[in-house]
């Protein structure tokens, strides 16, 4: 982002702002009422039985939480930017863990099923997504070129395709392919149906991303290349795409991450991927939260990996230009 050279005092170091902040936070905590949670238990020595502490208990809990919150912010404001980011990340993560912990999870249950979720579920999720990503990218390149061409048929087909597949919910497409194609005599099993639906749907979104990326390159680049006597294919490959790719990468990375998670829709067709196992493995022992949270952590970890890869690629193209 734009680096501002006008440096003002930090808002958190102004008393007036601190007072406004404290009052607002206090009001929010008071409205949400944390008396009957873990925080109320901590304050039991002061307020007595949390369930019977009434207005005083509610106010006391809110006040303590507000003081902790504001002091925390105030303390963090003295650190350098990188340290601030790290501290806030760790604090938010601890809050998430506390949230998960409050479900009274049975860790041994999770441990006994994690190997299966990874060997079977994660593997299936990754291979469905990976194949779909490759096919969707190919579709997107062809679709974008067709959409930009002067050929009436190519434009009509590709614009119809993007309109249709962006216009239908992915789940609906999945059912249309899984149930509809066999009626036409094309037999597709659950996994190929899921891959087809994901590829076609995301191919449509990515077609638009690629088209916009290519169009964002100034017309002068085409004209200059033409003037030098280059052919269309060469211009596209050597001049336009190298400039368009850095623009295309961030939104495409977003699509990959979204697709990874949308592959969970295949669970409806009984494919044993991560989401399906998360829903099913807890059934016998009626421990659903354990499996759902485990799957949540695995999906999150996968997404972080993709984010890191995307950041690396962006960095690489930034250096080049």
């Amino acid at each position: 982002m734009f680096v501002d050279t006008v440096i003002e005092d930090k808002a958190l170091h102004k008393p007036v702002f601190l007072i406004y902040l404290s009052v607002t936070v206090l009001a929010i905590f008071f409205a949400l009422n944390f008396t009957n949670t873990l925080f109320g238990e901590f304050l039991r020595p002061v307020i007595g039985d949390p369930t019977e502490s009434g207005f005083f208990g509610r106010f006391a809990v809110s006040l303590v939480l507000t003081i902790i919150f504001v002091l925390n912010l105030f303390a963090i404001s003295f650190f350098k930017l990188k340290a601030q980011v790290a501290i806030v990340w760790i604090e938010l993560f601890l809050l998430f863990l506390a949230f998960a912990y409050s479900f009274d999870l049975k860790m041994s249950f999770i441990q006994s099923r994690v190997p299966l979720m990874i060997s079977r579920g994660l593997f299936t999720t990754i291979y469905i997504s990976a194949i779909s990503i490759v096919i969707a990218t190919v579709i997107a390149v062809i679709g974008a070129i067709a959409k930009l061409s002067n050929n009436g048929f190519a434009y009509a087909i590709s614009s119809f395709y993007t309109s249709l597949f962006r216009g239908l919910p992915l789940l609906l497409q999945l059912f249309l392919i899984y149930k509809g194609l066999p009626q036409l005599g094309f037999m597709v099993d659950a996994v190929p149906a899921a891959i087809t639906a994901l590829s076609l749907c995301y191919g449509a979104y990515m077609t638009e991303i690629f088209r916009a990326g290519i169009q964002s390159i100034p017309k002068g680049q085409w004209e200059a290349s033409r003037a030098l006597g280059f052919k269309f294919n060469l211009i596209l490959r050597k001049i336009i795409l190298p400039q368009a790719i850095p623009i295309i990468i961030p939104p495409t990375g977003n699509q990959f991450i979204a697709m990874l998670k949308d592959s969970s829709l295949a669970s409806v067709l009984g494919v044993w991927e991560l989401m399906y196992l998360a829903r099913t493995l807890g059934q016998r022992d009626f421990r659903h939260m354990e499996m759902l949270l485990t799957a949540a952590m695995i999906y999150w970890a996968l997404t972080i990996v993709l984010e890191v890869i995307q950041a690396r690629i962006e960095e690489k193209y930034k250096q080049k230009s």
Binding site: L116, M187, P192, A193, V268, G270, T280, R284, D285, F286
Partner: protein, 285 residues
């Protein structure tokens, strides 16, 4: 490769079926194919402990699954399980993706428009359950309340007053809910009911063994009154791929398993009562 593109067994079956119908209604295509491929593909929703679920090693287990394995064994072929959602199975039109459903399906008039029911293999009672703190004490107490159930199930049909079971014991509609909440499977209802009486629903209806399992897992729920109705549970095959030879073979195997007490033993093994005693659900009411 054939697997990736999806043109496998099933498409060939389909083509053969079309061909055979166009020539003469010749029986036995699906059955012949099962024998030829040495593989019986069995559909069962894996979200129904203790009937059908996935164990720690990723292997299918449960009463239905063991019945399915036994059927394949007696046919002399391998059993392969496939786990589509319940409403995908009951909707019929399987397109030869699987050969038979061993999934505790109650034969009803509406389902028999798309499915065949070659053999009933056991009978379970359906019952209502409420939160232990619930003020409701009788089935009539649920009238006008919010009752949860599984989408596309016989329990849902019962709540709608539209249960058209075939060859089933007589029953009466004792509950007319104000709202019916239909979810993906029974355990989602149990999860909602455990939150408290009247929080997301006032109670739910499911099979007795499933409710029993939830109670044993520590859910704060209790049975409400006597079982609402008893339902026969059957194998199912696709009416579209009508194969009398397969149906006859399935019926023969089930009759044999009843005769040598295999079914009773499996039932006793999988279904327990509250006091820990075993339950034989294979006897007709």
């Amino acid at each position: 490769m054939s697997n990736i593109f999806g043109f496998k067994k099933s498409s060939i079956v389909l083509a053969t079926v079309f061909l055979s119908i166009s020539m003469t209604a010749k029986a036995g295509i699906v059955y012949d194919y099962i024998i030829e491929q040495n593989k019986l593909i069995i559909a069962t929703d894996a979200n129904w402990a203790p009937f059908s679920y996935i164990d720690d090693d990723g292997v299918m287990q449960g009463f239905d699954v063991e019945v399915g394995r036994e059927i394949a064994k007696r046919m002399g072929v391998e059993a392969q399980f496939i786990t589509p959602d319940w409403d995908v199975i009951t909707a019929g039109n399987w397109n030869a993706r699987w050969d038979v459903s061993v999934g505790s399906m109650t034969p009803t008039a509406s389902r028999s428009e798309v499915l065949n029911f070659p053999a009933v293999y056991y009978y379970t009672p359906a019952a209502f359950a409420v939160h232990t703190d619930s003020p409701i004490t009788t089935l009539a107490g649920l009238n006008g309340k919010n009752v949860c159930t599984t989408a596309a199930s016989t329990w849902e049909m019962y709540l709608q007053g539209d249960l058209d079971m075939l060859n089933a014991p007589a029953f009466t509609y004792d509950v007319t809910p104000g709202t019916i909440t239909s979810l993906k499977d029974g355990s989602m209802c149990a999860d909602d009911t455990r939150l408290g009486a009247g929080v997301r629903n006032d109670g739910f209806i499911d099979s007795v063994p499933m409710i029993q399992g939830a109670i044993e897992a520590g859910y704060p729920i209790r049975f409400l009154g006597d079982p609402a109705f008893h339902e026969p549970l059957s194998l199912a095959t696709d009416l579209g791929n009508n194969d009398p030879e397969l149906d006859a073979e399935l019926a023969r195997i089930i009759a044999e398993m009843q005769k040598d007490y295999t079914l009773s033993l499996l039932s006793i093994q999988h279904f327990k009562n509250a006091d820990g005693s075993s339950e034989d659900y294979t006897v007709a009411y």
